[in-house]
């Protein structure tokens, strides 16, 4: 099993941290992982990408991800601003932080599955805000785990508590759990 995942976010929104936290949660689940940013300069607010590989075996491959099976979008507007389905393998997932149905924003397609959660509202409602920005990355990982079931949510919660001490860890764990519960799988 080798899963390749791409995260779309905005610079400063935590796409790289999302990829890294997924790798940490994978390790807790007994899986191997590899996380890396888009190789280049990033600017706050501009569209950015980050990547992760998850496998049940050590990961030897060291190259870019061109055909992800899961795409996670941290900002609803990026659904139309960048080509989020680029390279997405048939039968793969688009998982978005969105208030609207993804099928209202992206053209309907039989080639991929869709899941959404309003991660911005989740973050704001529990006060997970930094420098004026709601932190949605851990919530979106909750949505990813709900949609795909690749590892248990408790691994992600443990990873959050290990990564951030005190209240920050608790808030991120809470965001992940709430988003996990509120994720909607879109039917056709």
């Amino acid at each position: 099993m080798l899963l390749e995942i791409r995260f779309h976010g905005r610079g400063g929104q935590g796409a790289v941290t999302a990829a890294n936290m997924l790798v940490k949660a994978a390790w807790i689940s007994g899986l191997w992982g590899q996380g890396f940013p888009f190789f280049g300069a990033e600017r706050r607010g501009a569209p950015v990408a980050a990547f992760a590989r998850i496998s049940d075996k050590p990961i030897r491959i060291h190259c870019e991800i061109r055909s992800p099976s899961i795409v996670v979008v941290l900002d609803e507007r990026l659904l139309t601003l960048v080509d989020v389905t680029k390279g997405l393998v048939p039968g793969g997932w688009i998982i978005a932080n969105a208030k609207r149905r993804i099928s209202e924003v992206l053209p309907k397609s039989k080639h991929y599955k869709r899941a959404r959660v309003d991660a911005t509202s989740v973050a704001l409602s529990i006060g997970l805000v930094m420098a004026g920005w709601p932190i949605v990355n851990t919530a979106m990982l909750g949505a990813l785990l709900k949609a795909t079931g690749i590892m248990p949510i408790k691994s992600l919660i443990s990873a959050c508590m290990e990564e951030w001490s005190g209240k920050m860890g608790e808030l991120n764990a809470q965001a992940a759990t709430r988003a996990f519960n509120e994720t909607v799988i879109e039917g056709d």
Partner: protein
Amino acid sequence: MSTIKILTGNYAVAWGVKLSRVKVIAAYPITPQTTIVEKIAEFVENGEMDAKYLMVESEHSAMAATIGASATGVRAFTATSSQGLLYMHEMVWWASAARLPIVMAVVMRALAPPWSIWNEHTDLMDQRDTGWLITLAENNQEVLDSIIMSYRISEHEDVLLPSIVGLDAFILSHTLEPVEIPGQDLIDEFLPPRPPKPFTLNPENPITHGGIVTPEYYMEFRYLIEKGMENARRLIVEVAKEYKNITGRWHGDLVDEYKCSDAKILIIVAGATAGTCKEAVDVLREKGFNVGVLRLRYIRPFPSSIVRERVSSVKSVVIIDRSYSFGGGGIIGADVASSIYGSNGGPLIHDYIAGLGGRDIGVREVERIVEETVRAMESGEKGIKTLWFDLKREVLE
């Protein structure tokens, strides 16, 4: 007790330096190396490392300060990349010819112009004649382990030459992987404090070192460096074995072989792309190609006799060279060719220049390269040929 941490390649370097109980670090920041020295500075600042961290104004000074520290007998470290490494180059020569067992991490990055922060190996290869031992890691675990092993090898009195541990820009430096951190007690036993032999700078017992030598004796100094290199071949093997005994991990010694024993086609490669090649080998073997990977773990000393032996038992060889010598050819290609001079018959060798300036090398590219070489061999092509892989011809016209 060993623990697992999820680390970037750069943090794996910092952990290797911490475990090696390095006493002096002097460095100057440069992308993509910076987070190595940031992490070490943090270790020193919060008391986790008992070391002196020197802020310097350039890479030239970074190596000069590292040389000064090492000459007094302490364990010293620096790290750099690309333009910084070239700026340091004069002092890189000084360190090896002064026989100082420094370890330096080089995050391998392309050279300007045009400006590039991305991966290739030319900056590292540019140091290949300096008398440093040069190893390239395949993954972050090997990065950490190689830093520790390098001090053991470099400080051995039969070697006394510095070591570079090369890691690919971004592909390792900024990629997170699970890394096992060996227990400090284990490493303390494996790597005791640096022996003060054969001499160190000491005001109680003043000596002169590095003064002028007339043509009568200079060559002998150079010959002794080569003797150190030759001894390093043996030490690299012994130390890798000993490290395996205490940690259970084996990354190879001078080389790392993957499915080579029955291979008819051999991929020769160095650095992180080797992992991608191993994945490609599994795909290609399912398609009926008998492929193996010979990863050059060291490029200095160059594993000539192993290369010669492996190459002489296959029909074709694919080299993936992430560096180039203008007017000469692929750098690993040239070393492979000289290693096999005089072998009977000899296989077809395709030396692919690929991945310069960070251009991605994926499993599919490795498959294409191997299949193209097999077709050339079957059509009767012989000898060695340098090929620039996937050049955009349209922008060259």
